[in-house]
Assembly symmetry: C2
Amino acid sequence: MANLNAGSAHPIDLGFHALADATRRAVIQKLHHGEAAATELAEPFDMALPTFLKHLKVLEAGGLITTRKEGRRRICRLEREQLARLSGWINAYEADWRGRLDRMDAMFEEGE
Amino acid sequence: MANLNAGSAHPIDLGFHALADATRRAVIQKLHHGEAAATELAEPFDMALPTFLKHLKVLEAGGLITTRKEGRRRICRLEREQLARLSGWINAYEADWRGRLDRMDAMFEEGE
């Protein structure tokens, strides 16, 4: 995959970048059901803990999760506002509004 | 930005990766208004044409655009279905359904 993102740090860039990986999306799916400790989140994945923690850092940099320490545990929490911001960006372009407006125009003309 | 995506090629990975860059998002915004030639799309950007064409390739790999040759021009077209797929993925986790259900439960209990 070509890396043309080097050096960019826009919150929207970092958010979409964080979503571009199956492990990170699985973490989001899990956190949808509630907060969880980093070690607990890591369990289902067949990877070294430091590698998994890097994924959490990418999610944090992307604004998709926040973390806090509780004793020796690092608790992760889903940040739905950033998800809403990212889907909001996509939603503006997903629908063919021009096509819809053309069809509405045609309907009005037929009705005249 | 940590590159933990090396080697992955899931269509959803490639789609979100394509969205993680301001140039590529600007191309999507432009194509929202209709098809356009690659050279025409490149004009507003202060970058070498080969660099810009790499961005188009990332968009194409991500399923967000398709391109076709018309004489010497390469025409680009927005693929809204992939945008819908990506926002669909996000939308499933964006809302706090558990919180909403808890609040609904509380409302019913108050009404009893």
